[in-house]
Assembly symmetry: C3
Homo-oligomer: 318 residues x 3
């Protein structure tokens, strides 16, 4: 693997999922692979699971980790080409990426959508520029449009907990008062489209995701109907893609509780976390037998380890 920006960088999804499950069974088997190599983790936004699980996975592989909160440890980066830099950005990404590429063997980046300019967000400038100018493999720790390490952890979790050859997986929108990015929902659809599952997406009207992410999923605007017979219910809030970044409704009747889950086929509940209890999901679900949210989070370590291992192996082969 050269980079890990989206599923399009994955050569063999089954191999990668298996890689995660193997890493979980024997976390320290590849400890020499990362020896004398360094991964830089750059955070333009806050993080808990991603920060800790990626750091842990890197250490399992023997990598040194250098962590930076951009804009807090250092300063903001200019992303536009050709501008006169007389504003508040002290450094251009061209220099930053090239320099960090000289210190790090792998560069992992978190940079969320700003939800102001759809075209700009969806162009993923910062990831493209780090890929172009750093000369190093770039790993996506959640970008404006995708969160592939989460999606891979979700695939591993579904693989571990499925009881049918072809389970029904329902992605459902959840209510929130703040506008959140579409990244996790986009990415989940994109990965599920490569899995042997029946994928259904449900949300209020106006919340349709971009068609390139929805793919062959069935879209049903009636949440209860969508949930019928589901094996996995994946909850997530996102703001509107059409009316970009807007909160069109805060309809709290979309919250997931036991009455809703009773419509499923003994369904499991999934969420990428953090989750706001009793606004998006009821306590009874998160504290009960249906919840897979901690398993998903735990699998973040193994998804990161599988990805970093493939990148390190790729570097050996160069």
């Amino acid at each position: 693997m050269k980079n890990f920006l989206s599923i399009h960088d994955v050569e063999d999804l089954n191999n990668l999922i298996t890689g995660g499950i193997i890493a979980k069974r024997n976390p320290f088997a590849d400890q020499l692979l990362g020896k004398n190599k360094t991964i830089g983790l750059l955070f333009f936004n806050s993080s808990l699971r991603t920060r800790l699980s990626t750091q842990k996975a890197a250490q399992n592989l023997g990598l040194n980790v250098m962590m930076m909160n951009v804009g807090q440890d250092s300063w903001g980066l200019e992303l536009e080409e050709g501008v006169v830099m007389n504003g508040d950005k002290a450094e251009h990404v061209k220099e930053a990426a090239a320099v960090i590429g000289r210190y790090c063997d792998i560069i992992a980046i978190r940079s969320f959508a700003e939800l102001k300019d759809r075209e700009k967000d969806y162009a993923e400038h910062i990831f493209q520029q780090f890929k172009k100018y750093s000369g190093r493999p770039v790993v996506n720790l959640e970008s404006a449009t995708r969160h592939p390490l989460q999606s891979l952890a979700d695939c591993i979790t579904i693989e571990e907990f499925r009881t049918k050859q072809r389970p029904k997986v329902v992605l459902t929108w959840l209510p929130h008062f703040k506008p959140l990015p579409q990244a996790v929902a986009n990415s989940f659809c994109e990965w599920m489209n490569h899995m042997d599952v029946e994928l259904v997406v449900t949300h209020p009207e106006g919340y349709d995701l971009a068609p390139e992410f929805v793919g062959k999923a069935q879209v049903i605007y009636d949440q209860k109907k969508a949930l019928e017979g589901a094996d996995f219910v994946y909850g997530k809030n996102w703001s509107s893609y059409q009316h970009y970044g807007q909160v069109l409704t805060q309809d709290y009747s979309w919250m997931i509780d036991e009455a809703k889950m009773a419509l499923t086929d003994n369904g499991k509940f999934m969420h990428c976390l953090p989750v706001r209890r009793n606004m998006k999901v009821a306590d009874e679900i998160l504290d009960g037998h249906r919840s897979l949210v901690i398993d998903q989070a735990a699998n973040r370590e193994w998804s990161a380890q599988a990805v970093l291992k493939e990148i390190l192996v790729g570097q050996l082969e160069e």
Copy 2:
């Protein structure tokens, strides 16, 4: 040792003190004990000594360290049960603790008193919830009511510098214009109550500590009388416990200087640091032969190492 939240988690205090002294003589003897294990250090508040000394101790034991400034690297945590999370807290401690417990073998936490609600502070919710939901040993890096790693370092220091079988130890309140927690004073009393010392506590009226911490110590409101014949004078400011969190007086005549120390039996001065010079203690004391403050701080490394070693040994035995 399973957890280290207070002296009540200590099985044998003498063993633990000896453990610290042994670690100091041979810091790297147990480097294999922590191999392939990870400690997470979570800071809800600022730290200098605790951050560096705990990190150092963990590295001496071969542990990987993952550090997080909660609320700065990530976001605030909700501690209440059953609430609708529609405010500024994006994640519940139930999830955060469980998830961090999947990435870390030991979790160490600093979370100070807020000094607004005594019952809430003294319930130590966050530590109890991490203990309950993380499934991992929890170490106290200073909580609302206690600072046991500091107290253990203080015990080691007194053990190293005492010239009598049963020294007289005086905890004296010092003036400050800001309301500070009672944690260090509470914890010092609690630990001294388990040591073979004559313990005296002195402070202005209204500053009595909670009875469960004062224990069998003698309380004297006349500072000069209290200091007579002391072997160790431990200075610390704290806000009122009865009038919770209030600064009842800033009486600067409580500052420790050479005239005060002349009342002691060649007494040594101790303080947990940071200390405000010439407001709480005179330069002449901190820069003179009586001060043990740097020795105390240096012993923080060995107190942390002794505790982490006992926890790691406990995990081996499981």
Copy 3:
């Protein structure tokens, strides 16, 4: 080497430059030198290159790294002697330095000029006090008056790219709207004065650097004249030393572009980064064949490694 605060701490400049070049060829040859030793990196100011390159160099040498953002992870330090500490600084540098010295084998510090009080800035109190009270070697990660790890990286870069025995090196002031410290410019002059080069400094009137840094360099106020026949053009903005900390002019005609570089003898362009494009230097230079800025930044790793190695070897000999 005992400390690394300025070139005056360097015993043999050629050896140190060679040390950097050797480290670059074989980064992990001295990995046992730092085993069980710890370097503390203290940042009073933001950092990108210095943070990452110094951490990387330390890891190459097998050192443990403890990183602290002072005032963010912890609190502000009082630097004045004898004051009553009843303001916003909770800890005196005397204690902080002594304590950190007990946890760390080497202490590296970044603390910029405040540009308010020239005498105070140029006294470098914090470095002097860490040197005095920590009992450990102190490394300058950029102080009020100097940035010697940058200057050493610059020397290595000039050594690698020079085509003449005695190249002409021109330090040119660049325009900026904000007042910046003189540290990089001072330090560059100081080091170039020890190299076998023809050193010219050019800037608008009123921007003369302190005479002890200018040394034997020729000062020319006409930028174009100064650039004639240059082999290396080193760009940097700084605020006035005479009218301390002031921006006397923002004359954008001082920007470096291809027309200016055409005056040189096939000259290379150098800058310590971060650099504001099209305000200080034109894109055509930074993106073209003349630019050495990424090479300079990459050499920061090797300059730090050469310095840390000399300090570690010095500790072995004690």
